[in-house]
């Protein structure tokens, strides 16, 4: 049985942060969970989808984050508890609806979980979703460890129902993807009946219609929204998720939230004796801030250090309050991102914080290891550990697709370029994808930008324009851009890299597949039907057929006007259907491989660069690494000497 359903109160288990959040929602009596995949958030919905049947919950991978928020809000309006999960960038997408929802309010408890990625470890940026809570005027919770990830999620539903608005619970990569011990709580029994009551008075929060604003009358809805946030502030004044640990009168008071509270505690320990002069004020409710609670603790120290990721959200909001307290308190010294004590980009770690505290306390840390070791090991690593750039996996259809795109554009010779967006194929901005992508922005923006470029003929732009997007991204955000391009007669070729799933984040289904999040069969919405339905000439090829793909691309590039779509369909090599099932046994005929004498410039290893190939320095020939090779056989088509041989795998 899944850990998420174990009804053994008090059992202590090792859970991933995302599992803890999912468990917290189950302990709260969750009914509906929606989201769109995105690292580091995906495992929350994934874990819930696996237990959907047993738990009697509805779980959906929505087409995008805005629709996910709408679906979760509908459940809330019908009196159910709902959870909506996304990575930070998704909140940008959902924000239009969320701004309205914050004003109409909610009924059944609704919790929005954005997972930020400080350091952009698996993202194209390190956006800080916390600012949305302030802009949306809704409460913001930041769990500081794994136990809190569960407990605060459970509590967030009750808070949401108490104030009748949704609550934001913000996680970060180092909480979501880290694991720690969690003591399990009770799972409630029974099921709430869904019913949307809408026949009551216009402004009746229990039975009226759910309407976000009354034109020209903010004194009703907007004021009501602000009353809710004042109630939340009062509740936060006594919240057990905000607490202080340390001496009664610390020399330095650290104010930290989220995983930074664990880093700060560790940094204090690393400082040894000097650390005893530091106190830690761990904040779990970071918007609105509990003013009286903060005032009490800030008055205990003269030096205040803010530790948070990524931007100075907590820092600036506390300073805003502190501006009101200056009378009678005397000036204090504040350290954080604004003072340059800690960086305002990238993620935090215990070393960075210990160093910053050392500066504020004017103490020097004892080195933890001999400096001679650090110097010698560093020099050795510079030599012995070559940089490991990200690459497409062995057998990745994207490598084949971009090989064809790259060679078609080269053959065309008019300095054509590719506009891309977010997915594994973002890596095509780098050598693994032959540096093909020349623009990368948000989901679907490759298509939107290409459409914009495609209208610049009148200004003399003669370059062929390509857009690429993945299958999941197509549904998420590229369809409106394609419709726009068609209607405005933009000249572009859109290549849809259909690898049969949301591959980057772990093969979550999307509307193009015959299955939904709960592994039930679902009617697939075919990409080619959408494209043809809006009047776009559409072709489908297998990217592993290099010649067929290149020919299709060249014929599209020759047609200079209008929009065209080429669907390159081949399942991801890590997909469950393909994993460990090699189509071919590939080997190099070392008598046929002429190496550097060939004149191919070692096309296979130097340019194609599949990790399944390597260069045998001794024999000066290419080789296949059988442990790594995924057996797609594409490299056999690129070798001009025909030295790479493929045979059907047995």
């Amino acid at each position: 049985m899944s850990l998420l359903l174990k009804n053994k109160e008090g059992d202590k288990r090792l859970l991933m942060g995302n599992e803890a959040i999912a468990r917290g929602a189950i302990e709260a009596g969750l009914a509906v969970a929606t989201g769109y995949p995105g690292t580091p958030s995906s495992e929350i919905i994934e874990n819930l989808s696996r237990i959907s049947r047993q738990a009697g919950i509805y779980v959906e991978w929505s087409v995008n984050e805005k629709v996910a928020a709408e679906a979760a809000a509908a459940a809330s309006f019908a009196g159910l508890r709902s959870l909506c999960v996304m990575k930070q960038n998704g909140v940008n997408v959902a924000s239009d609806f969320l701004l309205h929802l914050a004003e109409s309010g909610t009924r059944g408890g609704m919790v929005l979980v954005p997972c930020d990625d400080p350091g952009a470890l698996s993202s194209v940026n390190e956006g800080d979703a916390r600012f949305f809570a302030r802009m949306l005027e809704v409460p913001l919770l930041e769990p500081g460890d794994f136990q809190e990830a569960k407990d605060m999620t459970r509590w967030a539903f009750a808070l949401s129902e108490e104030i009748r608005n949704f609550v934001v619970l913000r996680s970060v990569t180092r909480l979501s993807h880290a694991s720690g011990m969690v003591s399990l709580g009770k799972i409630p029994r029974g099921r709430t009946q869904a019913q949307f009551r809408h026949a009551g008075a216009l402004l009746d929060p229990e039975s009226g219609p759910m309407i976000s604003c009354l034109p020209g009358a903010p004194q009703f809805t907007h004021r009501r929204q602000q009353d809710k946030i004042r109630t939340a502030r009062e509740i936060f004044e006594t919240s057990p998720f905000n607490y202080y640990e340390g001496p009664r009168r610390p020399e330095v008071l650290i104010v930290a939230s989220s995983i930074c509270s664990l880093y700060s505690r560790e940094a204090i320990a690393m400082l040894g004796k000097a650390g005893k002069k530091c106190g830690l004020l761990k904040m779990g409710t970071t918007w609105p801030l509990p003013e009286k609670f903060l005032q009490k603790h800030l008055s205990s120290a003269e030096k205040i250090v803010f530790v948070e990721e990524v931007l100075p959200f907590l820092e600036e909001n506390v300073l805003m309050l502190a501006g009101r307290w200056t009378r009678g308190k005397g000036p204090k010294s504040y350290y954080g991102k604004n003072s340059g004590t800690l960086p305002s980009y990238g993620e935090m770690n215990p070393d960075l914080i210990a160093e910053a505290l050392g500066k504020v306390l004017a103490v020097r840390r004892r080195p933890v290891r001999p400096e001679s070791f650090a110097a010698k090991a560093g020099a050795f690593a510079d030599n012995a550990a070559p940089r490991r750039e990200l690459t497409f996996c062995p057998g990745c259809p994207h490598r084949a697709s971009f090989w064809s795109i790259h060679s078609a554009l080269k053959l065309d010779g008019r300095e054509g370029f590719v506009c891309g967006d977010i997915g594994c194929y973002t890596l095509a901005a780098f050598p693994t994808g032959f540096n093909s992508l020349r623009t990368v922005h948000s989901m679907g923006s490759g298509a939107g930008l290409a459409g914009g470029f495609g209208r610049l003929r009148a200004f003399g732009l003669r370059q062929p324009i390509l857009a690429v997007c993945g299958d999941s991204t197509f549904f998420h955000a590229a369809v409106p851009a394609l419709i726009n391009a068609v209607h405005h007669q933009a000249d572009l070729t859109m290549v849809i890299l259909d690898n049969r799933g949301t591959a980057m984040t772990g093969f979550q289904p999307h509307p193009g597949l015959p299955v939904n999040a709960m592994q039930e069969s679902a009617p697939p919405v075919e990409i080619e039907n959408i494209c043809r339905g809006i009047g776009v000439e559409t072709e489908i090829r297998d990217p592993f057929d290099l010649k067929g793909t290149r020919d299709a691309l060249l014929s599209f590039l020759e047609k200079k006007e209008g929009a065209r779509v080429l669907i390159l369909r081949q399942a991801c090599s890590l997909s469950p259907e393909k994993k460990k099932k090699n189509s071919f046994k590939v080997r190099v005929d070392e008598n046929a491989c002429r190496g550097e004498r060939c004149g191919c410039n070692r096309l296979c290893t130097r340019i194609f660069r599949c990790p399944g190939l390597y260069w045998d320095n001794r024999k000066q020939v290419a080789r296949i690494d059988d442990v790594v090779c995924a057996g797609c056989g594409v490299c056999a088509s690129i070798c001009p000497a025909g030295a790479i041989l493929k045979e059907d795998a047995v």
Binding site: H177, S179, G180, A384, A385, R388, C393, D625
Partner: protein, 220 residues
């Protein structure tokens, strides 16, 4: 309080995306949690799975929650599924007394395959590491896993080798429970074989030494 173990004991498992780094850290974390320890595992996965460096930080404590990032220079043990990644982690988190166990099988970075960057021969890596950490051990984990017919089990062979050091209470019984949960019961037999192979490789490597490097008798 469990006797004899530093609080926290800091273990790093490192390798390359696709080698089963995350699975190895989960299995280790759960084995230790079964032993009553308070565990924090810090790791990142996502983009790094695409051929990038992967690193899991495992904090092992008798009773407190430590942060998911080990401070620089503070690892107590490093298990490298890939030798160059072991060197990289040793440089950031190691010291001359660290327990260092590395697989010998390289996974070449794209830059090396393309010819721009150089990956030194494994003998050079071995002697460089030994000059930094005299007790470091290199074992042919992937080769052993290939013999079992499943090269991916190199990660489990490495867990077996770490268990054999007896630095941590990692017995076969706990391995069976954790592997069953994470690796699936259909491959449990293979996992147990790989675990045993790792223990054997460690014993063989130790028997070739003049003095014992690890406290193999500290705990039964």
């Amino acid at each position: 309080m469990k006797p004899g173990l530093k609080n926290p004991f800091n273990l790093i498992v490192t390798g390359v995306g696709g080698q089963g780094n995350v699975l190895a850290s989960r299995i280790l974390g759960n084995m230790l949690a079964l032993g009553g320890f308070q565990i924090t595992i810090g790791e990142t996965f996502g983009a790094s799975q695409r051929g990038g460096s992967v690193m899991s930080h495992i904090r092992i404590s008798p009773g407190s929650t430590w942060s998911p990032q080990i401070p620089k220079g503070c690892a107590d043990a490093i298990v490298a599924l890939e030798p160059a990644e072991g060197v990289r982690v040793l440089s950031d988190y190691g010291h001359d007394k660290v327990c260092f166990i590395s697989n010998t099988r390289p996974v070449y970075p794209a830059g090396v395959i393309a010819g721009g960057a150089v990956y030194p021969p494994i003998e050079e890596i071995r002697s460089g590491v030994l000059s930094l950490v005299p007790d470091a051990l290199f074992i042919d984990a992937t080769e052993e896993a290939i013999k079992l017919g499943r090269p991916i089990l190199g990660n489990i062979v490495m867990i077996g080798a770490l268990a054999a050091t007896r630095l941590l209470p990692l017995d076969r019984k706990k391995f069976r429970v954790a592997a069953d949960k994470f690796a699936g019961s259909d491959s449990l037999d293979y996992n147990l074989k790989a675990f045993d192979a790792g223990r054997r490789l460690f014993q063989t490597a130790m028997s070739r030494r003049s003095r014992p490097a690890y406290p193999v008798t500290r705990r039964s």
